[in-house]
């Protein structure tokens, strides 16, 4: 049994201002009993990794709708590696074409959730992965 609730960082990397999904996820995870920190807009990969480590989170969830995911998601993964924080579970969401998903998974993202995904699905996925 875990001693503390699952801690999640919801992050908006890049310049994209669409955060309806990120905020809905943040609230749904909180309602599901997790501790959630939301970074707000315009975070650099460096800021996200730093916050994730400082806040000792179990999960980082990133959302991008601008198409910059191919650049920014792998960059966050690389920085986690550089900081020996690869144990943090990283998931992504947004307008992400299917054909981009294999490369993002190879970069180390555990899952990518695209439009229409249910918050339930994400909650279940996180619980299952973190409890492992």
């Amino acid at each position: 049994m875990r001693e503390r609730p699952i801690r999640v960082l919801i992050a908006k990397p890049g310049l994209d201002g669409h955060d309806r999904g990120a905020k809905i996820m943040a609230r749904a995870l909180r309602d599901a009993g997790m501790e959630v920190i939301y970074t707000g807009l315009r975070q650099t990969p460096e800021q996200i990794v730093e916050t994730g480590i400082q806040e000792d989170v179990d999960v980082i969830g990133m959302s991008i709708l601008s198409g910059a995911h191919t650049h920014l998601f792998p960059k966050v993964m690389q920085l986690l590696k550089d900081n020996e924080a690869e144990d943090i579970l990283v998931i992504g969401g947004g307008i992400i074409p299917d054909e981009d998903i294999p490369a993002l998974k190879r970069a180390g993202l555990a899952a990518i959730f695209t439009p229409g995904a249910l918050t339930e699905t994400v909650i279940d996925f996180i619980k299952e992965q973190v409890q492992k």
Binding site: G14, L15, G40, S66, K75, G116
Partner: protein, 560 residues
Amino acid sequence: MYDKRQVDKIKGRKRKWEEGTLKKVLDRFPERRRDFKTLSDLPVERVYTPVDTADLDHEKDLGMPGEYPYTRGIQPTMYRGRLWTMRQYAGFGTAEESNKRYKYLLEQGQTGLSVAFDLPTQIGYDSDHALAEGEVGKVGVAIDSLADMEVLFGGIPLDKVSTSMTINAPAAILLAMYIAVAEKQGVSPEKLKGTIQNDILKEYAARGTYIFPPQPSMRLITDTFAYCAAHLPNWNTISISGYHIREAGCTAVQEVAFTLADGIAYVEAAIEAGLDVDDFAPRLSFFFNSQMDLLEEVAKFRAARRLWARIMKERFGAQNPRSSKLRFHTQTAGCALTAQQPDNNVVRVTLQALAAVLGGTQSLHTNSRDEALALPSEDSVRIALRTQQVIAHESGVTNTIDPLAGSYYVESLTDKIETEAREYIEKIDVLGGAVKAIEQGFMQREIQESAYQYQRSVESKDRVVVGVNKFQLEAETLPEGLLKVDPAVGEYQKERIALLKADRDAEAVAAALKRLEETAQSDGNLLPPIIAAAKVYATIGEICDVLRGVFGEYETSVIF
């Protein structure tokens, strides 16, 4: 619209129906659900009768087309005179690629341009800035300086087309570049027709591409009003936008309320800056969303028009009738598009576009079926444009003005939306106006609450979204030919900036930026020094950096 005796008679008739014909059926076949609601959660009655519109005063509440309070439409002939402007929002990659797409759209019968800029441009960073990495050319075209603007509008006569630019925080800079390109084409500013979005308040509340704090941002906007009133009489100086607020998840009522509350804030700021309301108000324009609930949306557009007219006349004492006319652009709802079975989106967009037309829009963008997956392909954009053309030329709805007027339901809903929006605006007034309400996070919290409730209703299947929570396919076939932005565009833009900086008159740039800084520190109008800087090829990043230095940057508080 009926006298009391007639209304009483109809009330009695309805009661009789409820106790007789209706009851017999309900006893055997209950309705599909207990409560029926609009998409925005407004309650919907089983049937509407003249009783529901008994208080409607034809002269006071409806009037005739082209006359106050403009409920029926802002022009006396509406689409019998001229169809709406079909204006597809487009832009991606480099200025060359976007210029090609614009020419294609114009060849296909589009009647106005609508420019999408990439995020670095919208936030005032050059393509070679560290924060621009991965974003250049992605959600729109990358513009760093006048040199890019010259390519973007190459071969497009700016005295013939009208251009709408979705640009907010640095709107004055892009307008300056547009003026400069036109001058090179031999077109004088007074001939230019178009719109800059220039609506910073909804950026803080919902869209996120802000740069400066509210006060200097409001100054940039009122400086633009003043400059355009003197030099660009046909330019829409702002497009006060509910679109993005709705996309962020609010209701129809909130969309009207927050948009008009923002409008009030701009009018007050301009009056405060010494402008006369009738000098700038005729050039204010609006931008709304068109969502899935067809009749609610029609009522929303009518309610917004009536409410704005009343605000302008009653609150601001506008004398010029044009000051009270709410002219608006509409875009179909991006958030209603589904990634699942994307062809169904063509049907969704048709319904939304129909609502906009029945609601009396002045211009329209129809979304493409593949936009929940990627930027739209050329084929998808063509279908979206054709959707408008079918409504315009085949559906017959353009033959008469405001055809849903007099519908007991639509009139009653129009009234309800106006009343509830008015109540919201009063609440915002109590908080000290839209700027204060946004600074306190009031609008943001209201929007988020609605968005969350909507998501819950979809997840609990209280609301059906076809293909998403019902009628799914086991295996989705993915559409082919999705648009991919060439990742080399970032490098290409960086090289262009390097070349530009080596080539331009560095002293002239330094002098222009110095003058801009001095003006920013004083209270002079910012447009002349911005235009001067644009003309000597100062970049957007350089101009914004000067303004950042004087004004500082906006810091948002995180609310969820």
